[in-house]
Symmetry: C3
Subunit: 385 residues, 3 copies
């Protein structure tokens, strides 16, 4: 293939196949405005009195870019958007936006509010595309802990560890990788060494002593889960940086994982750093120096909207191009898949055209790099296709 | 209103009304070059031998943008600038620059070198505009401490706390909010919990034992001041990030306040993060997830000069547009009000035109957002106008 | 001199004399592709399976900008590049690239793999230019320690300290400054106070007890070295920020040195912060507030390639223009000198033209600032020429 003009290049990027290696399902229920506004922010609080979530980068993207997908004028009012949206069947909204993404392969993480959103199979039904599962380690541990706690067993600690091992082995067989939300639960500022049997035993006792639904907030068990995944040579997705108000963002700097990466070189395990904003330059450094570290700037792309161009450009500094991935990190709203894909295409195109114009990169080479980042790096990493 | 062209939009931004929610007074004395150079840098040292403070972003702004206000050619030499400036009465310089700012409302913080600079009333006389006071908490505590220490009282600790309470109540009645310089005095890396009576009592004893002019550098009393303000549902301005060499900048990351924001949700108190550079992206995240957190990039705008465009654009990422404010943080030189306002208008205009051109934002919507950030957000937050 | 057009300005920047105040020597042996790829990355691991180091910003710079220097087409394949390169004598490659840099003066740091690369004298022979030495403090201490350990001496601790003092005094006489890699060896997150005699004595005992080649990883002795240099009013180059995987990047934030800078004001010593990425904004702040702090964004320029423009622009924010320096930090490959110089010229030109166009900076003033940053600041700082 030979691309002869910037227009041809832009056209090619518009239909660039994408591998969305980290996303969640979409809601299948009708949404009213308050629920919709809640889903276009990482905040767990309602919008400040006197303001609306529509007055934000992502709100402007919804009005500007999503409205036309629903047959509305670009930059219609929030009221017009919600009126049209609530008049349509949820499935039709989901289909319209998902079709418009050009995403060919999904890596669906199933550990967050799985009852509210589409499963891998349902997403496959909706899109006709390949959907792979990504298993959330902490969720599996919580489910196993609740099961063991509630059944009559002697030696519950041992039973938990055995059942956890069995369950994880089974789950990863059908998945392309695992995910850890250590950043949310304990932060990343502790030594990620393999726990001793004694440490682990004490931590399990404590975990099983929780009443009601169990919440894993213990760094020892999280280390156990991570080392399970390392020993099994998994691709391990890690939440990094920006997220909701549950996170202590200053404790989510990926550089805090430097020692974990040193310890796991050569294990066969690989790590993908998710989102990373505002630490994406730090992530690029790690992807450069560690052969088993990859990263993306998903989530941040959606939420920085018209500024996603700048964030994507910053992600193209130190990292080898073979270590950068695409994800939408969409959750709930099909608009988020669409915007994630659209803003990614546009921002990547803009950065590469800038390199073409300022540093003479041939357009064919720009396109080769775009294909790597959009699809091929993930396909090679996850060993699919 | 309907804006039909970029020229019309630029024109509208030139006369956008501004609410400068955080600034200090201007000096009223004649300034010679060494004093002037001292006031265009955050350093407490003279310029390095062989260099001049005029060779900096702000120095170039003074020569490029301030010179014409005084009737000089743009980019006249520093010598020409100082010659003209010292030939003019100080009040006339102050009036010329302040008039040219287009600032309609001032929030004047009165706790720093108040004897050298104009008071709220004097600034009102100079400008004819509305001037509100912002009370510096640490300064009030120091004044009360000196008074109590120096008078004959039994039980000085109790007397201090009572007098502090009375004084603060009186001061905030006539102010739109309070300011804390915790970042300067103790850094932000400690838990911002409410102090116990016992902790507080010990800290007060120590404070009152200081000789000479009292300097509050105790985190316990600062926490007491902050919780006073939270309990009174105040707007609390916080120094964040960049400042002079008195600050440990790495201990001024606003993310260190995450727990304080969690604890004070729903209290009625609101926080405005000032300056924030180079942590303005972090500030934008906090403004997104916490309904009572606002921020600005004042100070940094003046001092990054021709690069202020980039800083302002970066401030328009995660934060809802209803949570971003304008301040000049001008101190001493009327040039700093003028440059703060001018660079803010230009940088905001440039960012919004970019969003118009790249992401199709209608110019009317760009203008609506500009009005929010320039004035309306502050008016709503401080409940004035 | 009066520059009348942007073209004239660009032409002047193309031949701007450069003072590369921090670099290493070039290899003199023929290199095969694996060695070459190793030298265009900071990683100590081979490229990830399925990727090549040529698919990176620096790889694209080699193909785009270095290929024509060897008589090849821009963006020839890596295979063509390596074929041509291996067909040429190493000295001829070195000469071609070094001549094309326009570097007039070198500050050559001799402490890293000195046996593999050219010495100051050899670099002078290659280029005909002035080459000054920069002495790596830790290397001198290691050499002295090995010598003292291996000879028959009573009171080895005292002998070590005496010999260290004598050697350092001799070495700095022939050098323009010293370099410390404290960031690599112990991180920057400890108090940089002067060690006590007792602390020092214990640390020396431990150092001399090492077997084989001695590696200095002790913060006490490093503090001793730094205070030696401060007492001798040296220019002290400090590794900051980005480097290879041996570094804990989050412990290399230059802000961690704030107290060291406070303690050494007025000592006559000056500090140059090297590389700094991704903490170059923080470095700019330090260069503003401390009169004896300078910085550069070397290394990051080479490795961010087509994005170096953005990094250079960010380095032109808070710092006075008289405190910014140029370095390539080239090691091993002559391509790295060439790219460092070329990307620096282009990025600086681009930033300054932007300031000309957006903030009316006269082109003569842009050129004056370029000369300062490219050469004059370093000449004044190192007191040469």
């Amino acid at each position: 293939m030979s691309i002869k003009s910037i227009n041809e290049f832009l056209h090619a990027l518009d239909s660039l196949p994408l591998f969305d290696h980290h996303c969640h399902g979409t809601v299948t229920e009708q949404l009213q405005r308050p629920d919709f506004e809640e889903l276009i922010s990482e905040s767990s609080s309602p919008a400040t009195v006197g303001t609306t979530r529509f007055d934000s980068q992502i709100g402007f993207q919804v009005r500007g870019a999503c409205a036309p997908v629903l047959g509305l004028d670009s930059f219609c009012s929030p009221e017009e958007y919600m009126a049209k949206r609530t008049s349509m069947p949820s499935e039709s909204i989901n289909k319209k936006f998902l079709e418009a993404t050009g995403i060919e392969t999904f890596g669906l993480e199933t550990g967050h509010s799985a009852d509210m959103i589409t499963s891998p199979n349902e997403l496959h039904q909706l899109t006709g595309k390949t959907v792979h599962e990504v298993v959330r380690l902490e969720r599996v541990a919580e489910e196993v802990a609740e099961k063991i706690r509630d059944q009559e067993t002697y030696e519950k600690e041992a039973a938990f560890l055995e059942e956890l091992d069995t369950t994880l082995r089974a789950r990863i067989k059908n998945a392309i990788g695992v995910k850890s939300i250590a950043a949310y639960r304990v932060g990343l500022d502790f030594p990620f060494t393999r726990p001793t049997e004694n440490e682990l035993s004490k931590a399990v006792t404590k975990l099983l002593a929780q009443e009601g639904s169990i919440r894993l907030e213990d760094s020892t068990i999280i280390r156990h889960l991570l080392w399970f995944a390392i020993d099994k040579a998994q691709v391990i997705q890690l939440h990094i940086g920006y997220g909701d108000d549950d996170v202590d963002l200053h404790r989510c700097n990926p550089l805090l994982l430097t020692n974990l990466f040193r310890q796991s070189i050569g294990s066969g395990a690989r790590f993908t750093l998710l989102h990373c904003y505002p630490y994406h330059r730090e992530a690029g450094y790690l992807a450069d120096v560690f052969p088993h570290v990859y990263f993306d700037v998903g989530l941040a792309i959606n939420y920085t909207g018209a500024r996603a161009n700048a964030v994507i450009a910053e992600s193209l500094e130190l990292s080898p191009f073979g270590k950068i991935l695409f994800s939408s990190d969409a959750f709930g709203l099909p608009e988020l898949y669409y915007l994630g894909a659209k803003l990614f295409r546009e921002g990547l195109a803009k950065a590469l055209i800038n390199f073409h114009e300022e540093a003479n990169w041939p357009l064919d080479e720009c396109y080769r790099i775009a294909r790597m980042i959009g699809y091929e790096n993930a396909a090679r990493l996850y060993e699919v296709d």
